[in-house]
Amino acid sequence: MEKIAALALFSSLLGLALVYFAATNLEPSAMGIGQITSDYDGKVVEVSGFVTSAYSSQNTLFLEVSDGKDKISVVIFSSLSNQLEQAGIVISKDSRIIVRGVVQEYRNRLEIIPKKISDITMLV
């Protein structure tokens, strides 16, 4: 019984290490905005483009990002928008950005929801 417990402990720790490694090294798919469909709901994607509109409501930042052909909404919730503000990162209309986040469908519209600062890269 003790051997099995030791084996279970080893397996748990090894598994946790592998899961952590996978989580920190998985790269999301970089894609055109037009390729994002409802099939991507819940999946992480990466898009790049320029901001065609940006407004804030109750500390949540609502962006519309276009790659020149298609547009998609990007929603930055307050916890992340506060971090961006503290880091001095300002996203406004005409900013060029790369955004990585989870695709979610909300009220019939697809949105990308980034979760951390490193999900947003400002391009010069």
Partner: protein
């Protein structure tokens, strides 16, 4: 009016068998079927009332039936994962059918109670939550501390299991390594389902003949468990941040729902009440709180009072039929349990769950499944209560309410 009634009946006749299908097949969730049906609803020769009646029928039936694979096969849905432990315990005592009866009683009782609560108490609850939200991390921490301290001499082992499962839950839920809508499936299946099956195979457990002798708890215990399940289901259905699984374990600790029977009644009640309140949330605050309510909103837009009454009527009608169907299916399953080679069936179920996890979440999900199963087995061999594996959701929830999630995520680089 007559047409809506006819459409409602047809919707229920279609929704109930579909709900039985999703309930019996581990990993096949109501939301998956709803997502498949939703794009096609404009093509259907029925009104929107048909579609929302179909979704509600599917959901309610699924809730009743989903306990069957959990109890008899050890293969739960994420929402019913905690029922594996008490369900398996009753199964090994020849009381598997009774376990299902308890869940049926709990779900039916909570549905009736929820119909009353939703009109009289929901406003109070939303307000109360708003004022207590700032203290949720403390409330949850006290609950967790109480759970761990009950282990006395095995406190360190319990803490280890809690932290391992908590770390796994945090990494999986914060990193997006798995598709969001399926992330809990491998985690909870491994901790509670696969681990139970593997332990059962290792112990060469045999399933005795299943007897049917009514329900082994008092009416007052049933009433108490139903009431707790209904209130906890209201919290889950109306308010963000707490899911049905977390609410179940928190209710167990706060209200001393120790004992397989009381736990099963309460757990089924939470899931059933959650279905009413998550649909109710759409009417009360205009905010959908579940996959089905999101789908209802897409089809219907804003729902008014009479639309909500229509939905409650569907739920009430389907609940009765689903309860009967569940008991019938459980009766048939329990009769064949003694004849089957349980270790072989367990291996088939494990293979099926692994296949399902791979289909929905890929190899990353299988890795998570293996890790979570190891933690579940570790808990058992360390002799601590496997409810500490609920650290997988409790720890991330505590960090969320404490506002520490971004800090830890940044520290871990996920």
């Amino acid at each position: 009016m007559k047409m809506i009634l006819e459409e409602a009946i047809i919707a229920m006749l279609v929704g109930i068998p579909l709900g039985i299908l999703t309930g019996l097949v581990p990993g096949l969730h109501v939301n998956t079927l709803v997502a498949i049906i939703l794009p096609f609803y404009p093509l259907l020769p029925f009104s929107n009332y048909f579609v929302i009646a179909l979704f509600a029928s599917l959901l309610v039936t699924h809730i009743f039936v989903s306990f069957i694979p959990s109890v008899f096969l050890g293969a739960p849905d994420p929402e019913t994962s905690l029922s594996v432990l008490p369900g398996h315990k009753l199964l090994l005592s020849g009381r598997g059918r009774e376990a299902i009866k308890l869940t049926v009683v709990g779900a039916l009782g909570a549905l009736v109670t929820s119909f009353v609560l939703i009109f009289f108490l929901s406003g109070f609850f939303v307000a109360a939550y708003g004022s207590s939200r700032g203290y949720m991390q403390y409330i949850l921490s006290v609950v967790v501390a109480y759970m761990l301290l009950r282990e006395r001499k095995k406190l360190l082992h319990a803490v280890l299991v809690f932290l391992l499962s908590g770390a796994l839950g945090f990494i999986v839920l914060e990193s997006n390594m798995l598709p969001e809508q399926h992330a809990l499936f491998p985690v909870l299946s491994g901790l509670f389902g696969i681990s139970t099956l593997l332990l059962s195979i290792n112990r060469k457990e045999k399933i005795p003949e299943q007897i049917s002798n009514g329900i082994g708890i008092s009416k007052s215990d049933i009433a108490k468990s139903v009431a707790i399940g209904s209130l906890a289901g209201m919290v889950v259905g109306l308010l963000p941040g707490i899911g049905a699984t977390q609410a179940t374990i928190i209710s167990q600790q706060i209200f001393s729902l120790f004992g397989a029977e009381k736990f099963l009644v309460a757990m089924a009640g939470i899931n059933a009440a959650d279905s009413v309140f998550s649909l109710g949330s759409l009417y009360l605050v205009g905010n959908p709180r579940s996959g089905v309510s999101v789908a209802v909103e897409k089809v219907f837009g804003k729902i008014g009072f009479y639309d909500f009454l229509f939905l409650l009527g569907i739920i009430a009608s389907v609940a009765g039929a689903s309860a009967i169907a569940t008991l019938q299916i459980a009766g048939r399953v329990s009769r064949i349990m003694k004849k089957i080679d349980y270790p072989v069936v367990s291996k088939i179920v494990i293979a099926f769950v692994v296949f399902s996890v791979y289909s929905f979440t890929g190899l990353a999900g299988v890795l998570v499944l293996a890790t979570s199963a190891s933690i579940g087995i570790l808990a058992s061999y360390m002799g601590v209560n496997r409810s500490h594996c609920m650290g997988v959701l409790l720890l991330p929830t505590i960090l969320f309410f404490a506002g520490l999630t971004p800090l830890f995520a940044q520290f871990l680089g996920i």
